[in-house]
Symmetry: C2
Subunit: 202 residues, 2 copies
């Protein structure tokens, strides 16, 4: 079933609970792996190369850009972040690979890999999103407002995603199950199973 | 969730085990109902109006054709068979409605209702299909050959279906579960959940 493994993009605004949901998903199934990004940023204490990120030099990163060997990349605070094609291909040999990236990256992946599965994770509504962000108690009012504003930008691409999964309060396990079921269904799409047709014409 | 109920077309060649799989599906979930067709054929002993078919006159049927109130229809052995729009709409208020129809009807449904979900049920391969048909022991060689030939015609429309579900030997329950999961996933498609987006712009 190797060739039926999927490239899955999971996006969601801050407060959607992406991290928790994906953790639940990995705990409930061995069929998924989360892609590790490459970055030019220095590793922070405790971070491990190949686990948190692949730490590469600016020259190496720009070589990847030049050779078009990145699935997507972006710059943030003067550093590059991106997903290296070959790393994902390797993982796809044995697992469904999840890219946890924001909307812009997601749209780039979709352009390059029309077969990728795009899932948008959302809290049940705007009020919940707001209260989750405030509940953290770690961000200033200004940051919260900026994040809420950004979440609206993300919703502007709603229809570009294939599926929307709602992460209800205390619902991370259900949301993870939804992603699991969506993946199981998707591999039954005729467009992903053309070999079945061939079997009948052998 | 009423408005999220789906119109589901299930097609499959003779020998695919459609009947058994759909029976399993109805047994495992209350969320599905099978559409009852209308026909101009006389009821056979034991058949019940509204259960096996809606028995209507030729005039009534042709009135339906004229008024474009049929989802699909066909003629067979001098009688009309078809699906009345309003009957399906009524059922959709409370359930996902399954149309168990052949390929041509399925394509007509797709044209009229692009939101309909099209599932093709298949045995694992051609040999299994053949041995299932022969195993029945009720059809002549000629009929079996004709059915096998017809199954190839059905496969010609493979890509027009959304999903392919394989009914393995002794696998009717698994195939029913597949249809159940596909339906659960489909209602999470962004194209079917545009109201979610609205919630965030209220």
């Amino acid at each position: 079933m190797k060739k039926n493994n999927l490239l899955i993009v999971v996006s969601g605004p801050a407060g959607s609970g992406k991290g928790t949901v994906l953790k639940e998903l990995l705990a409930m199934s061995d069929d998924f792996a989360i892609s590790v990004s490459a970055t030019t940023r220095q590793p922070r204490p405790g971070e491990v190369d190949g686990v948190n990120y692949f730490y590469i030099t600016r020259e190496e990163f720009e070589e990847n850009i030049k050779n078009d060997t990145l699935i997507e990349y972006t710059q943030y605070c003067g550093n590059y972040y991106g997903t290296i094609n070959s790393k994902v291909s390797e993982m796809l040999e044995s697992k469904n690979v999840i890219l946890e990236i924001e909307v812009e990256g997601a749209m780039n992946v979709k352009r390059k890999f029309p077969d990728a599965l795009l899932i948008l994770l959302l809290p049940p509504d705007y009020k919940t999103l707001e209260s989750r962000l405030r509940g953290r108690g770690t961000e200033t009012d200004e940051v919260i407002k900026a994040r809420l504003e950004q979440s609206k930008n993300e919703l502007a691409c709603f229809e570009e995603y294939d599926y929307v999964v709602i992460n209800e309060n205390e619902g991370a396990r259900d949301a993870a199950l939804d992603i699991l079921n969506i993946t199981k269904s998707e591999i039954k799409r005729t467009s992903r199973r053309l070999e079945v047709k061939e079997k009948f014409y052998e």
